[in-house]
Amino acid sequence: MTSLVITVTETLRYRGAIGQWSWVLHRLSGLGVVLFLVLHVVDTSWAVFWPELYEEAIATYQSPLFTIGEFGLVAAVVYHAINGLRIVFFDYKPHLWRYQARAAKVVAVVTLIILAPVFLLMFGHVLDFYNSAPQVLPLTEVLRAQLVFLPGFIAAIVAALILSGLHGLISGGDGATGAVDPQGSRSERFWWSFMRVSSLLILPLVFGHLAVMHVLQGVFDITAQGHDVVGTGLINESGTAVEFVARRWNLLVGGVAVWRVYDFALLALVVAHGFNGLRYVLTDYTSHSPFLRRASVYLCMLGALTLLVLGVGALLGTIDETAVEMGVEAMERLHAGS
């Protein structure tokens, strides 16, 4: 904890140049995106496993709190993606380092150029939604719906601490992870390359995902009855979020469920990239304690595993008529309740 506090306060006090601030923004935006990723993958898996809860989740996404968060999320993803390109470029061309400060400014400008029209379109969806006299969940309901994640987070942290303790007992206790060992060297080398290669693959996938789900249509259109289901040419007849997902995932192009394949690629890459990034951040600030450092690694492994199991499970699952009916009922309850 002290190492985190010192880094934060001294980063504010040290007169570093623009590269330092790029690093701060890269970390914060990455952490923000990983947090949302957890909520989003778990919520989306409910479309298959627990349709009623999925309707509620989408209703919370349509609340003002999440609308503000959505703008922040899109900004974070765009900045992280563009600055990531800058990092990758100078990793492979270190002799051009003199241009890194200029590149950091270019990153900021490009981010703003991308965000300006995107925010305008997103704001258009927000206006359309509120002009249609919508029923919006009250803030207390929105927060209560997120509260269910808290036990999950706590359970993951406790499990990580227990695993780290067991690991320590078995390996004899000391086993500082910073020690020189060839195994560690090989895996760090792999992850370093993975972060860079995966970022280039994620970039088109995540920009496509954001364009389809947040810009071309809004989160509000997921539950618009009679509205197109973006990317399918089909109509959401019941106006439930469950039917929206069913229409997308059940669409076959040449016998292939293209959106399931797309979402699987995005899920696998983003989960691996995101949780390895989280591991970098957590292990940076826990070097003083082998116990906490191992726990950080276990926490990231548990988080990634959970999201992959839920996400892949949902992508392999079926959403049938009964699920849509459950969605309709849940929606009626939500509307009656608010």
Partner: protein, 249 residues
């Protein structure tokens, strides 16, 4: 010019267990005087208990690295006129403060030793039994990294090092660079092993604080980048393009 000097003090033996700021006023300072000379004036004229390291006073020995007005530098290379009438001096960060501006350099030097910073070649001596000669082009590959004076200004400007003292740090990586890319040296494997560890080069997040902190103008972040590539591909993979090496004077 008159200078107001703010110095971070720490002297637990004198009954002050916590660090504190102390201000000193200096009159008739020549704009061309160096911050080190101003520290001398404080010590000699106002407070003999002020403690700091210095040896050559000429930017060669690397003992007076400190954080001056928020950025790491050598006190003996910064002129009063370049720092302004308000000067704030504090110890470099990430190493334990022993007294005032003096820090414990041992963890820093331990990282330095970790990269085997000496010439390794067990092969037979050249025919004349004397020097292992190299071409000017080969020498140019490492000229920049030979300039390092181990002052720790780069390593202690690095947020990764502040957070994690196990990180080998920029200076040790520059020193490794000097031998990795020395065409006569054969110790690459052991060095790359140490540098490729979880707290080796990979903790560098290309924040670029280290490069402007170097009082010798070494392209520190570039050297770290080249060492990262060497860990992946081997140091003999033609990582440094000779055409991109800056001219040394």
């Amino acid at each position: 010019m008159d200078i107001s000097f703010r110095i971070r003090r720490y002297n637990p033996e004198a009954g002050r267990p916590k660090p504190y700021w102390q201000e000193f006023a200096l009159n008739d300072v020549e704009p061309t005087q160096r911050v080190l000379e101003l520290l001398h004036r404080v010590k000699w004229e106002q407070d003999g208990t002020l403690a700091f390291r210095r040896s050559c006073s000429s930017g060669i020995c690397g003992s007076d690295a400190m954080r001056i007005n928020g950025r790491n530098a050598l006190a003996c290379k910064l002129l009063a006129r370049d720092v302004g009438p308000k000067i704030q001096v504090e110890p470099i960060l990430g190493l334990r403060v022993i007294k005032d501006l003096i820090v414990d350099m041992e963890p820093f030097l331990a990282h330095y030793r970790q990269v085997l910073p000496w010439f390794v070649n067990d092969g037979p001596l050249p025919a004349d039994g004397r020097e292992r000669l190299q071409t000017q082009e080969d020498k140019d590959l490492v000229t920049d990294s030979t300039n390092c004076i181990l002052c720790a200004a780069c390593t202690t400007s690095c947020p990764s090092f502040w957070a994690n003292g196990e990180y080998v740090g920029p200076a040790a990586i520059v020193q490794a660079h000097r031998f990795l890319f020395d065409t006569r040296d054969t110790g690459d494997d052991a060095r790359l092993e140490a540098l490729g560890a979880p707290d080796g080069v990979w903790r560098c997040r290309t924040i670029f604080n280290c490069t402007p902190a170097c009082p010798r103008g070494i392209e520190v972040t570039r050297a770290i980048g080249e060492v990262k590539l060497a860990v992946r591909k081997g140091a003999t993979a033609g990582i440094i393009d000779p055409a991109t090496i800056k001219q040394q004077h």
